[in-house]
Amino acid sequence: MTRRQRRLVLIGAALGVLGLAVALVLSALKGSIVFFNSPTDVAEKQIPAGTRFRLGGLVKDGSLIRGENLLVRFEVTDGKSTIAVAYQGLLPDLFREGQGVVAEGAIDPSGTFKADSVLAKHDETYMPKEVADALKKQGHWKDGDNNAPKGRAQP
C-alpha cells in the first residue's frame, strides 16, 4: 500500500466511526430525552397521556396521602395550576410538603401524573433549578441560594 492509500484507509475509518457516533447521537436525541414542564406548562401544552416528561413544582401543603403498599399521592403546584401525582416507592429523605420536587413519569388516562422517580431536595437551601425557574415565572419565588445536593428516589 502506498502512503496515500494508507492515509485514505485511516481517514475512511475515522469518518466511519465518527459517522456512526453522529448517527447514534441523533437517533438517541430523538428518542430518549425528557422535557421538563411545570403544572402550568402541562395545562397549556395539553401534553398527551403516556408522554414521559419531568414535572416540577412545590408539593402542595396538606396534599400528601400515604396509601397501602408504599403508594403515595400528592399534588404538585406552581401557584397557578396543580397536578395530582401518584408514586409507589420510597420517597427521598427530604421530601416535604411545601418544598420543591421534580418527578419523572407520564400522565395516565385519568389525568394523574404517574411518577416512576422522584427527586427532592437534599439540603435545606436546595431547590431544583428547574423548579426555581418555573416558580419565578409564576412569581412565587423569592431569590436566594438554591444550590445544594440533590437526592433521588427510584421505585
Binding site: 465518527l18 447521537v25 438517541a28 425528557v34 425557574d133
Partner: protein, 660 residues
C-alpha cells in the same frame, strides 16, 4: 492570624507563579540557562507557599475558627476530627485551593524529578504549568477567597452538608483532583513542544509516566466516587450519567486515548500531531469539567454555591487556555514532522482504532452533557438527557472497541498478521462462547444482549491472559523457560494485560448488576420477614443512638439462608441537628462478589418502616475491575524504561525539524 498568614502565603505563591510563567519562557527564547534555571526553584517555592496557605486553612478548620466565613459555613465544633479536615475541600473555596495545591505540586514534581529533561523543554513546561497556576490563583483570590473573616464571629458553625460527612469524601476529591490536575502536565508538555516547534519519540516517553500517574488517580477517584454514590444515595445506583460524573469521565476517556497514542509515538514516532492534540484535549476536558462543576450551571452534590462572577471567571480561564492552546496547535502543528509508516492492520492501526472509538464515545458524552445546557441557553426549553441517551450512544461505540481490544496487543508493529492473531485468540473466543452458551441456557428467554455482553467481558479477560501466555510462551515451552521469560517481561506488558483484564472484570460486574439485580420495596413491621433470592431478612426492631453531631435511628435485620444465620444488616437514618437534614445509611452484606443492600425509608404512623432491599450480583466486580486497571497502570508506571528517562537524541536531530 493564621487565616491572614494563609492569605499572605497565597498572594506570595501567585507572585512567584507570575515570575515562573514569564522568566523561563524568555530564557528559553534567548537560550539563557540562568533565566531558564529560575523555573525549578520557583516551582518548588510556589508549591511551598500554596501548601502553607492550604495548611493555614486546615488549621482554621481544626481550631473551629468560626470568624473565618468558610469555616463558619462548612464546619461545626462537634464534627468528628476527620470531617473537620475533609470539610476543607467539601466546599467551593477550599476545593479550589486543593486544586491549586495539586497543580503546584505537579509543577514541583517536574522540577524535582525532571533532571533528565532538556533545559528548554523543562523551562517551557514549568512556565506553562505556572501560567495555569496564575489563572487559578487569581480566581481564588478574586472570587473565592477562603480566608475571608466575619466581623463578629458566630459561636457555632453551620456544619458540613451531611451527605459529604462520609469516609468516601475523605479521599474521593483529592484522588479525583490529582487525576484532573495531573493532566495539566501533559498539557504543559504539549504546549511546550508547540512553543519549541520540536517533538520526538523522547517527548512521548517523558509525557507518558505523567499521564499514567494522572490516569491512575483519575481511575481511582471515579471508582471511589461511584462507590460512594452507591452506598450513600440509598438506591444502589453506581453510575447515573449525571453531568458531574460525565465531567470526570470525559477527561478519563481522553487520558486513556492519550496513553495509547503516546505508545505509538514513543515506539514508532508516528501520530505526533494527534498525540499533542489529545494532550490538549484531555486537560481541556478537565477544565470544562471544573467549569461545569464549579460554575453552578449544574445543580448537583458538587455545586456548592452559585455566584455568577465565578462562572464567568472560570469561563474566561477556559476560553483563554483551551482557545489559546488550540490556536497555538493550529499555528505550530504543521511544523511537526510526521514519521513512522504503518499498515492499517498493525499494532499502530489497532491503537488508532482504539483512539477513534474512545474519542467518538467521549464526543457522545460531551454532546449529551452539554446539549441540555446549550438548548436551554438558546431556546429556554428544559430537557434532561439521562441514561437512555448514553446507553444508546456510548454503549454501541464501546462494543466494537471491546471486540477488537484483545487483538491489539497481539498484533505486530508496522504490519500485523490478522489471521495469525485470530488463530491465537481462538482459545479466548472459545471461552467467551462457552460462557455465552451457559448464560443463554440458564437465562433462557432473557434478553439476548446479556449472553453477548457476558461473552464480550470473558473475551476481553481471556484475551489479556492470552497476551501474557503468548509473551511468556507458557503453553509452548517448558515451564521453567516460561517463568524466566515472565520475569524478563517488561512491566509495561504486565501493565497492559492487567489493565485490559480489569476492564473485562468491570464489564462482567456491570452486566451482573444491571441484568440480574433483584429489588424489593416493602413496608415492614418489627417481627416481619422479607425474602430476596434465597435470603430471608427478619426485622428485629429499631434502636436510637446519639452520634457526635447527629441522632440516628437504626433498624436491625437478621439475614438467614435456609439452615443458617448469616449475620445482621443495620441500615440507619441520621438526622443532623445543626442543619435539620436527614441522611440514609444503607447497610451492605457482601457475599462473594455480590452484595445485599438495604436502606430505610419513611416511618408510617402504624410503626412500619418502608425499606428498599436489593440483591446485586457481581456488583463488587465493577470496582474491583477498576482496581485491577489501577494495578495495571501502576505496573506500567514502574517500568524501568520510564524511570531511566529517554535516550539523548542523536546529534543533528536536535535541530528544529522542518515540515515535510
Amino acid at each position: 492570624m493564621i487565616a491572614e498568614l494563609g492569605h499572605y502565603a497565597l498572594v506570595l505563591a501567585l507572585v512567584l507563579a507570575v515570575v515562573q510563567a514569564c522568566v523561563p519562557l524568555i530564557g528559553a527564547r534567548r537560550n539563557d540557562p540562568v533565566l531558564m534555571g529560575v523555573a525549578g526553584p520557583t516551582a518548588v517555592a510556589q508549591f511551598g507557599f500554596v501548601a502553607l496557605a492550604f495548611g493555614a486553612l486546615v488549621a482554621c478548620y481544626l481550631r473551629s475558627d468560626f470568624s473565618v466565613v468558610n469555616v463558619f459555613e462548612n464546619s461545626h465544633s462537634l464534627k468528628p476530627l476527620i470531617y473537620k479536615i475533609t470539610g476543607v475541600w467539601g466546599n467551593h473555596e477550599g476545593s479550589m485551593l486543593l486544586w491549586l495545591l495539586i497543580l503546584s505540586l505537579f509543577g514541583a514534581l517536574v522540577a524535582a524529578f525532571g533532571g533528565n529533561l532538556p533545559a528548554r523543554l523543562k523551562a517551557n513546561v514549568l512556565a506553562v504549568q505556572s501560567a495555569i497556576a496564575v489563572a487559578f490563583g487569581l480566581f481564588i483570590l478574586l472570587t473565592s477567597n477562603p480566608f475571608l473573616r466575619i466581623a463578629q464571629a458566630p459561636l457555632e458553625g453551620r456544619d458540613l452538608n451531611p451527605l459529604l460527612q462520609d469516609p468516601g469524601l475523605v479521599i474521593h476529591p483529592p484522588l479525583l483532583y490529582v487525576g484532573y490536575v495531573g493532566l495539566s502536565i501533559s498539557f504543559s508538555f504539549a504546549i511546550a513542544a508547540l512553543i519549541d516547534g520540536r517533538i520526538d519519540a523522547a517527548w512521548a516517553r517523558w509525557v507518558r509516566p505523567w499521564t499514567l500517574l494522572a490516569w491512575i488517580f483519575l481511575t481511582l477517584g471515579i471508582a471511589m466516587g461511584s462507590y460512594w454514590a452507591y452506598y450513600t444515595l440509598g438506591w444502589g445506583g453506581w453510575w447515573f450519567w449525571d453531568p458531574v460524573e460525565n465531567a470526570s469521565l470525559m477527561p478519563w476517556i481522553a487520558a486513556t486515548a492519550l496513553l495509547h497514542s503516546a505508545v505509538v509515538m514513543e515506539k514508532r514516532n508516528a501520530l505526533k500531531i494527534w498525540t499533542i492534540l489529545l494532550a490538549i484535549l484531555a486537560f481541556s476536558l478537565s477544565l470544562i469539567g471544573t467549569f461545569l462543576v464549579r460554575s453552578g450551571v449544574l445543580t448537583s452534590v458538587h455545586a456548592f454555591a452559585t455566584d455568577p462572577t465565578r462562572g464567568v471567571f472560570i469561563l474566561a480561564i477556559l476560553v483563554l487556555f483551551i482557545g489559546g492552546a488550540l490556536a497555538l496547535f493550529a499555528w505550530r502543528a504543521p511544523l511537526l514532522k510526521q514519521g513512522g509508516l504503518f499498515a492499517p492492520l498493525s499494532r499502530e492501526g489497532a491503537l488508532v482504532l482504539n483512539n477513534l472509538f474512545l474519542m467518538s464515545a467521549c464526543a457522545t458524552v460531551f454532546v449529551g452533557t452539554l446539549y441540555p445546557l446549550a438548548l436551554e441557553a438558546l431556546t429556554g426549553e428544559k430537557i434532561s438527557v439521562g441514561a437512555p441517551f448514553f446507553n444508546a450512544t456510548f454503549g454501541p461505540l464501546f462494543v466494537p472497541l471491546l471486540l477488537v481490544l484483545p487483538f491489539g496487543p497481539l498484533m505486530a508493529w508496522k504490519r500485523g498478521d490478522l489471521p495469525g492473531v485470530a488463530q491465537r485468540l481462538t482459545g479466548a473466543a472459545a471461552i467467551a462462547l462457552t460462557g455465552a452458551a451457559v448464560i443463554f441456557a440458564v437465562e433462557a428467554g432473557g434478553p439476548i444482549l446479556v449472553p453477548f455482553a457476558f461473552a464480550l467481558a470473558l473475551f476481553v479477560m481471556a484475551g489479556a491472559v492470552t497476551d501474557l501466555i503468548e509473551r511468556t510462551g507458557l503453553l509452548r515451552m517448558p515451564l521453567r523457560t516460561a517463568l524466566a521469560r515472565a520475569a524478563g517481561l517488561p512491566r509495561s506488558a504486565w501493565g497492559t494485560a492487567f489493565a485490559h483484564f480489569g476492564l473485562g472484570v468491570m464489564l462482567l460486574g456491570i452486566v451482573g448488576e444491571t441484568q440480574w439485580s433483584v429489588e424489593r420495596i416493602a413496608e415492614i413491621k418489627p417481627g416481619q420477614t422479607m425474602t430476596i433470592r434465597r435470603y430471608e431478612l427478619q426485622f428485629d426492631g429499631v434502636t436510637n443512638r446519639q452520634g457526635p453531631n447527629y441522632q440516628e435511628v437504626i433498624g436491625h435485620f437478621t439475614v438467614r439462608r435456609p439452615g443458617e444465620t448469616l449475620g445482621v444488616l443495620e441500615p440507619s437514618k441520621r438526622t443532623f441537628t445543626s442543619r435539620g437534614t436527614v441522611r440514609t445509611e444503607a447497610a451492605l452484606m457482601t457475599r462473594g462478589f455480590s452484595q445485599l443492600y438495604l436502606s430505610l425509608g419513611d416511618t408510617s404512623s402504624d410503626g412500619s418502616f418502608g425499606v428498599r432491599l436489593y440483591y446485586k450480583p457481581l456488583v463488587l466486580l465493577i470496582w474491583l475491575g477498576a482496581l485491577v486497571m489501577v494495578v495495571g497502570g501502576a505496573l506500567s508506571l514502574s517500568d524501568r524504561r520510564l524511570r531511566v528517562g529517554a535516550p539523548v537524541p542523536a546529534k543533528g536531530k536536535a535541530a528544529m525539524q522542518p515540515a515535510e
